[in-house]
């Protein structure tokens, strides 16, 4: 799949943002006043900003509101609904903390759940797509999104123990996701034989493409990353996203280490997310003889 920067930023940042909101909602920490304001500002900047970014790739952003209407069937719609609900509920909760110095805890719990659900729905947008076998790993893909979001959230929320544990968990999920993902296309059962129905005659090979000019499908869904290149990037993502933050957290606590851990983690998540798209092979590529 084409790794569109707006989508990579959106999913990474909003994941972090909602992760942070989750912890804030649970009350870990429960900052009030100015500190609370800053915490929520960061969370909203990440979550809502990411959401806003995601509209950049729309053909008609002015109609984006319509995207909430199909919550009964569409994960994208559900994401929209959850996100708005989470932001509203957490907004009220934040109001209480920042301006009234009181934690309206039931709101926080609901908001935390909604935040988590938002990340879950985001992950399901990808996870449900049978057409992209690498994403269609359930429940691994939601697990990846959720664990990353929670780990990032914990980091931002300054929950060192939680963060350390969650980072280790996310790292494990990430590795599993990569390893299993590499086999996903093959085990999906989709190949040129099933795509064309001609497998019974012999070995099917794509001959002439239907057009020598390019098109939306090719630029959107057929993106080829070199294998060696991908491996290197995985190592970088892993190092930045998990190894370094954990190391920083294991060091005696210091705000600087904390900031560095966050930065490394975010960078790692961005690389991982780039790979999430770039390495994903849409089955339509099979028709074009490309993966």
């Amino acid at each position: 799949m084409h790794p569109a920067p707006s989508i990579i930023l959106f999913t990474s940042l909003s994941g972090l943002g909602f992760g942070l909101l989750f912890f804030l909602g649970l009350g870990y920490p429960q900052p009030t006043g100015w500190v609370g304001f800053v915490f929520f500002l960061i969370a909203y900047f990440l979550a809502a900003g990411g959401l806003l970014l995601s509209t950049f790739h729309l053909g008609h952003p002015e109609r984006a509101w319509r995207a909430m209407s199909q919550w009964q069937s569409s994960w994208l719609s559900r994401e929209g609904v959850c996100a708005v609900a989470a932001l509203v509920v957490m907004g009220l909760y934040a109001l209480g903390l920042v301006f009234f110095d009181s934690a309206w805890q039931p709101l926080g719990w609901i908001g935390a759940l909604l935040s988590l659900a938002t990340v879950g729905t985001t992950s399901m947008i990808y996870g449900q797509l049978k057409t992209v076998p690498r994403w269609n790993m359930l429940p691994l893909t939601p697990a990846l999104f959720l664990s990353l979001s929670l780990a990032g959230g914990a980091l931002l929320a300054g929950q060192v123990t939680w963060a350390t544990g969650l980072l280790v968990l996310a790292a494990l999920v990430q590795v599993a996701w990569w390893v299993l993902g590499d086999k996903a296309l093959v085990s999906s059962g989709s190949d040129l034989a099933s795509a064309t129905g001609l497998g019974a005659i012999g070995d099917v090979r794509a001959f002439e493409p239907p057009h020598t000019g390019t098109n939306y499908l090719l630029s959107e869904m057929v993106h080829v990353v070199g294998r060696a290149h991908a491996l290197k990037l995985r190592a970088i993502a892993f190092g930045l996203g998990f190894v370094l933050p954990v190391l920083f957290l294991l060091l005696p606590f210091n705000h600087l280490w904390g900031v560095l851990a966050v930065l490394a983690h975010v960078a790692g998540v961005l690389v991982s997310r780039w790979l999430f798209f770039a390495e994903a092979e849409h089955v339509v590529g099979i028709y074009y003889g490309k993966r």
Partner: protein
């Protein structure tokens, strides 16, 4: 209307004969022409006189098949929306712009509601949806919904543009929900198949597989017909002339 109807009254669709398609791209261009001028926004082209990229709703691939033994074959392979019964492109759509019509099963995009998020194209295994770069909305085969019921067209022209134009007659249009329709009969006779059945989309469009090819290669020679008794006789001119004599007697 993102939820799929439980059932549709009819299942209109195409049956494409891979034994007959010569790969001429006539259907591709007729489709481009009709749909540029009709339903919704025109199918645009970017850098049309440089390194072009454009929106098409129907495209013809070609595949080469090498059997374990014998000569390689080539199959031309037209592909447009298959109007799936379990259309994932519809259920993923967040706006309801994508829908499957209750009356005939045609899968359409309501361009006025489409936000151009592209998710439906991601959900389609067949590459049957293309985002129009100029208009920012999703385009797909409409099964020529603006032709097949069009009272401004003569009755015989109420069929998709691609079907009407196909010189080889490799494209058939009809109700695949009706087991007695011509298209259903064709599918039954020729073993019509689904593309990527494992994707669970339950396509309405069916493909007729190519008939077995190069069977003469397998005929056991010396071909019985040329081994008639005369064969031995007129291996040379005089034998041939003798045969001529005798045969001419009979005429």
């Amino acid at each position: 209307m993102t939820q799929l109807p439980e059932t549709t009254e009819r299942k209109l669709g195409l049956v494409i004969d891979l034994d007959t398609c010569v790969g001429c791209h006539a259907c591709v261009v007729a489709c481009k022409g009709w749909n540029t001028e009709n339903y919704g926004a025109p199918l645009s082209d970017q850098d049309p006189y440089g390194t072009p990229s454009g929106t098409f709703l129907n495209r013809v691939h070609s595949y080469e098949i090498t059997p374990k033994e014998g000569t390689a074959k080539l199959v031309h392979f037209p592909k447009s929306c298959l109007h799936c019964d379990d259309a994932p492109c519809v259920t993923v759509c967040p706006t309801g712009a994508s829908y499957k019509r209750v009356e005939d099963g045609i899968v359409l995009v309501n361009e006025d509601h489409c936000i151009g998020c592209g998710l439906c194209a991601w959900a389609c295994p067949y590459g049957a949806r293309e985002m129009d770069a100029a208009e920012g909305v999703m385009k797909k085969c409409t099964l020529c919904v603006d032709r097949i019921y069009n009272e401004n067209l003569p009755e015989e022209d109420r069929e998709p543009a691609c079907v009407r134009t196909c010189p080889a007659g490799a494209r058939h249009f009809g109700d695949l929900g009706d087991p007695d329709s011509d298209v259903s009969q064709l599918v039954a006779e020729r073993g019509g198949m689904d593309l990527m059945p494992e994707q669970g989309t339950k396509p309405v469009n069916k493909y007729l597989p190519p008939r077995p090819k190069d069977v003469l290669d397998e005929v056991d020679i010396l071909a019985p017909l040329l081994a008639t008794p005369e064969t031995a006789e007129h291996r040379n001119l005089s034998g041939f002339l003798g045969w001529l004599d005798r045969t001419l007697e009979k005429i």
